[in-house]
Symmetry: C2
Subunit: 242 residues, 2 copies
DNA sequence: CGGATGCTTCGATGATGATCGAAGTATGAA
DNA sequence: TTCATACTTCGATCATCATCGAAGCATCCG
């Protein structure tokens, strides 16, 4: 048949456990060195170097030289979305490597997804923004509303800069733990940066998990309230799930 | 790290070109025999058999015995969505195997995505239904509106049966050729079935392409008009893309 | 009952590729 | 300059796995 794009190439890149581990680590958003990535994958530096050059040739990662270090990151948002999507599929099938370790609940509550917030809290951000009509749209075509524009700038986010960045401002990303969409795009990134800058949340050292502080929890709850029955009603004219 | 689900397992399943070809063929939605799949992948029956048992063990495909034939299909909608998602990623990166062959325009216009319509026409269905407020919602959380309910049943679709099926009625699926969402779920499936049953469209014999007849084109244009500026306006309060 | 078709299993082969030791290159520190 | 760190490249080894021939099993037909 030979129809359509070549998914085997990408599959084979992800198909190796060592490379999959590295990509998963990079989904944490932090730039990592080859040595660090070798450590997380449990392989020697030579082997890691070989894998990294393959991933780079495949366009999945990018590197930045800085002194004698080479920092690796995912190539762009799309790679992060794709990986998170695969994780969602794998999680639903029960393809888990770890027998739901102790860090699992923290990951499900709030974690970094490349450059934005994911997990229960990430989903809640999008839900809340939609219920308050800050964001509207269907499918992957999310858009900021006129009224929402004010709310965002009130948070201290430079909206003009986001629009200028030539990346989509609002975007959905499928959450592997919640099986629902959360907010991605430059606005999603800006919000996570905001949480960290304000000291409301902190990243766990060697994990994707994000821990909210006491005041952070309160501020978050104030900014992103759970959708009330009345706002939910607007979207629930008809029950779709059985 | 060993955090999160195991994407390497799925990657390795898709990573083999022969298996990727088979999966792509099955994304056409038709149940295919082992011999047919071996043909499309360009391998012998023995090798195909080995691949198919691996794919089945991985939960990506399912088989149905019928006489001395064994018909293979994708395991469920999720697998189709995942494959289509990977294709979108691959296409965007320029990972194409065929140098944009002659069938390519037809595929981009209208094709089968497992069990629903994809391509330009597929995207247009969702756009139109949203603009006419038959469907509302954000992200993956699409829902049929009260008014939309009437429109759907007027088409001769048994809505009660769809709701009872325990599968989501409305769902988004990322289109690899359009880089936009089209309609999936049991409603998406019902619509494609409708088009084929009414004789408005026909499937190309050995391809995912769908060809609309003359009257089919007219009926389709009548049912799913391109969103007018006024309806578009409602969602475009703020331009998001640069 | 043959005989034919559809598919699986077994076994051997061969190629790909992951792995790591050793050596080489580049950058920074002393 | 000398040493150390960070990483790449080379080369050899080893394991995995895709592949196919041959044989076996199941189903259908006449």
């Amino acid at each position: 048949m030979k129809e359509g794009p070549d998914i085997a190439l990408i599959g084979s890149l992800i198909g190796d456990p060592a490379r999959a581990n590295m990509l998963t680590a990079l989904t944490g958003g932090k730039a990592l060195t080859a040595t660090e990535l070798a450590g997380t994958a449990g392989i020697t530096l030579q082997t890691a170097s070989s894998h990294l050059s393959k991933l780079e040739a495949g366009g999945l990662i990018a590197q930045r030289k800085q002194g004698r270090h080479r920092y690796f990151t995912l190539a762009d948002d799309d790679v992060g979305l794709m990986i998170e999507g695969l994780m969602g599929f794998a999680a639903y099938r029960g393809f888990t490597r770890h027998r739901t370790g102790p860090k699992d609940p923290a990951l499900r509550k709030a974690r970094v997804c490349y450059n934005h917030l994911a997990g229960d809290y990430g989903v809640r951000v999008l839900d809340s923004l939609v219920a308050e009509e800050v964001i509207a749209g269907v499918g992957d075509k999310l858009q900021l509303t006129k009224s929402g524009e004010g709310k965002i700038t009130a948070l201290g986010i430079d909206l003009a800069a986001l629009v200028k960045s030539r990346r989509p401002v609002c975007r959905t990303c499928l959450d592997w733990s919640e099986r629902r969409s959360h907010l991605s795009g430059s606005l999603g990134q800006a919000l996570l940066t905001l949480f960290l800058d304000k000291g409301w949340a902190k990243r766990e050292p060697d994990s994707r998990a994000v821990r909210f502080t006491g005041t952070g929890e309160k501020e978050f709850a104030k900014l992103f309230p759970l959708p009330t029955p009345s706002t939910v009603e607007r979207f629930n004219q008809h029950t779709v799930e059985a």
